[in-house]
């Protein structure tokens, strides 16, 4: 009986230690960002179909709020959220610039064009061919959407597909 007790006690101690480990590691997972950083500017080539309206290269505008949305052709949720972004763009295009950034898609030019065809997006999209812009922005993955204020500081970043409600809330705040 004593031996059984020893087994139970040792197991309980280990269980306690490892349970602590599990909860501590979950607490350690990347938490929500602190905001207010001035986002790095960039200059990237625009996809051909948008060049007439937006020029050959695009950079962050000054004095105007921007929504920068990172996507890749192979990313399912990016497809899913494209209509949401497009609808918001059509409503806010006079006040907020939407820039789509095609990243992590090296060698997939055909698929990227297909993505744009399928989604029918009319806001400008640029190519991040060497994935550097994603790194500069600290991208976690795609899709990820950055809301940048008029003064160039980061208001919010949303990792994963975004809903209409979340998008509207951020846009309203951008325009204040």
């Amino acid at each position: 009986m004593t031996r059984l007790l020893i087994v139970v006690v040792v197991t309980a101690l280990l269980a306690g230690l490892f349970w602590f480990g599990i909860t501590a590691s979950q607490g350690r997972a990347i938490g929500p960002t602190q905001l207010g950083r001035v986002m790095p500017d960039f200059s990237r080539p625009v996809f051909a179909r948008y060049q007439a309206e937006f020029g050959e290269t695009l950079s962050l505008p000054t004095g105007k709020p921007v929504v920068v949305s990172f996507w890749a052709s192979w990313c399912g949720p990016c497809h899913a959220q494209a209509p949401t972004l497009e609808a918001a763009w059509r409503r806010y295009r006079d006040q907020v610039l939407f820039i789509g950034v095609n990243t992590q898609d090296r060698g997939n030019e055909r698929q990227a064009e297909a993505f744009l065809n399928q989604s029918g997006i009319t806001f400008p999209n640029v190519k991040d061919l060497d994935n550097r812009l994603g790194v500069d922005y600290g991208l976690f993955g795609v899709p990820e959407t950055f809301f940048i204020r008029r003064d160039g500081t980061l208001q919010h970043r949303h990792a994963g597909p975004i809903t209409t409600a979340q998008l509207s809330a951020q846009l309203e705040e951008l325009l204040q």
């Binding site: 607490g27 350690r28 990347i30 938490g31 960002t33 602190q34 905001l35 207010g36 950083r37 790194v135 500069d136 600290g138 976690f140 500081t153 980061l154 970043r157």
Partner: protein
Amino acid sequence: MKRPLYAAAGVAVLAVAGWMIYQALYGSLVFFILPSEYAQNPAQFEDRRIRLGGIVANDSVTFDNDSLKLTFLISDSLKSLPVTHHGAPPELFREMMGVVVEGHFKEGGFASDNLLVRHTEVYQPDGKPIDNEALRRALY
């Protein structure tokens, strides 16, 4: 007959081994701290191997291609410290990004021999202090 002898020898060996392990463990503990923790009590962290975590301060990175000397400021919400490291920074090394350096404090700065980039965005906002607790957790 032989039993007590073996038992005593066994206990002695265990005691010596335990002592050696204890010494080795505590001598090899590498504390993980933020710059402000060092600033609060520098003496506690001198003369031992330390892991220092923080954000690479904006506009603070210099790298000499010939001598391979990298310098930058590592900071948390309260304090910044100068770091020198011998060797090229890894590809993902960026300003305003989390980093952990391992080495020793030396003459008011930190001499690093091991640099690890951490994917974290706990940026320094205007006016509002960073949650240092969140920073610790994100970088460890």
